[in-house]
């Protein structure tokens, strides 16, 4: 498995975990009287998440042999296609996220402002997830890419 694939697996894992985490926090926060519980959940888990993220990034970028080439033409092409897919999905998700509440609460309705950063973060994580999946699909899921 090369560095791009490792990075994609890492991003895939992180984005799925964070999306699940956001869903759990939202579920507890929007339950009656559950706002404090949601905030406590975030306070307890945020440090562990940050440590795991830092560790994961260090692991992905750690090179055992400095002489090994990180990426070649094929990797660049795969990354380019994945970026294209994620850009298209970014716009589709943004349009869906902007029209969804319109249908949910009506044309004259309003939403809580705390939902805006949540939408923002969720779209970012979803795009990261799509980017990682696009990379892994192109390499073939079984780790057939060049070794590094």
């Amino acid at each position: 498995m090369n560095k791009t694939q490792k990075g994609a697996w890492f991003a895939l894992g992180v984005s799925i975990l964070l999306l699940v985490f956001i869903a759990i926090v939202l579920r507890s926060m929007f339950a009656p009287g559950g706002r404090a519980a949601g905030v406590r959940l975030v306070k307890v888990w945020i440090w562990l998440i940050l440590v795991l993220l830092a560790g994961g990034i260090a692991f992905v970028h750690w090179k055992r042999r400095p002489s090994v080439v990180d990426c070649d033409e094929r990797d660049k092409c795969i990354k380019k296609n994945a970026v294209l897919v994620s850009f298209v999905s970014l716009w589709l998700l943004l349009i869906a996220a902007s029209i969804g509440p319109w249908f949910a609460v009506g044309q004259e309705g309003s939403i809580l402002v705390c939902l805006l950063p949540i939408i923002n973060l969720s779209v970012f994580l979803a795009v990261m997830l799509i980017y990682s999946v696009a990379i892994l699909v192109q390499y073939g899921r079984a780790g057939k890419g060049e070794k590094s």
Partner: protein, 145 residues
């Protein structure tokens, strides 16, 4: 002037015309007609003119037998896209965080704000991409070499 420059120039002109018409329409509806600001903002409908930028690949078609896109064009295109999406994402985060801090976590906002955020983002991307493309080539038509 090469194809990428012509397309960028066309997009820039269309977007600037659309934005100018929006400002004029909102101003006329608010100050001249005397509508409340909420209704005067409907003048922003002129932003739909930006949709004409989608016609640029049809207006400036690829010439047969001629290389219209080389390594340098690719580099410029990448740089322009990177700049456009960086600015877009910064503004998008800002647009999500400012109401949060201004109105407080319990504040509410109209659902119309969300499409405005997205379409504002689209216009920003197109505008910045066109400006950076033209800036990278040089604004004059010297780069059809």
């Amino acid at each position: 002037m090469n194809r990428a420059q012509k397309m960028a120039q066309f997009s820039l002109i269309v977007i600037l015309i659309a934005l100018t018409l929006c400002v004029i329409a909102v101003g006329v509806l608010y100050f001249v007609v005397g509508l409340p600001m909420r209704q005067a903002l409907s003048g922003f409908a002129f932003i739909a003119i930006c949709g004409l930028t989608g016609l640029s690949p049809l207006l400036y078609k690829k010439e047969r037998g001629k290389v219209s896109f080389d390594e340098r064009d690719l580099l410029i295109h990448r740089k322009a896209s990177l700049a456009a999406y960086s600015i877009f994402w910064f503004l998008f985060v800002l647009a999500a965080m400012v109401p949060f801090f201004v109105l407080g976590p319990k504040g509410t906002i109209s659902v119309k704000y969300l499409p405005a955020m997205v379409f504002g983002g689209m216009v920003t991307v197109m505008l910045v991409q066109s400006i950076v493309t033209l800036e990278e080539y040089g604004w004059r038509s010297k780069s059809d070499e």
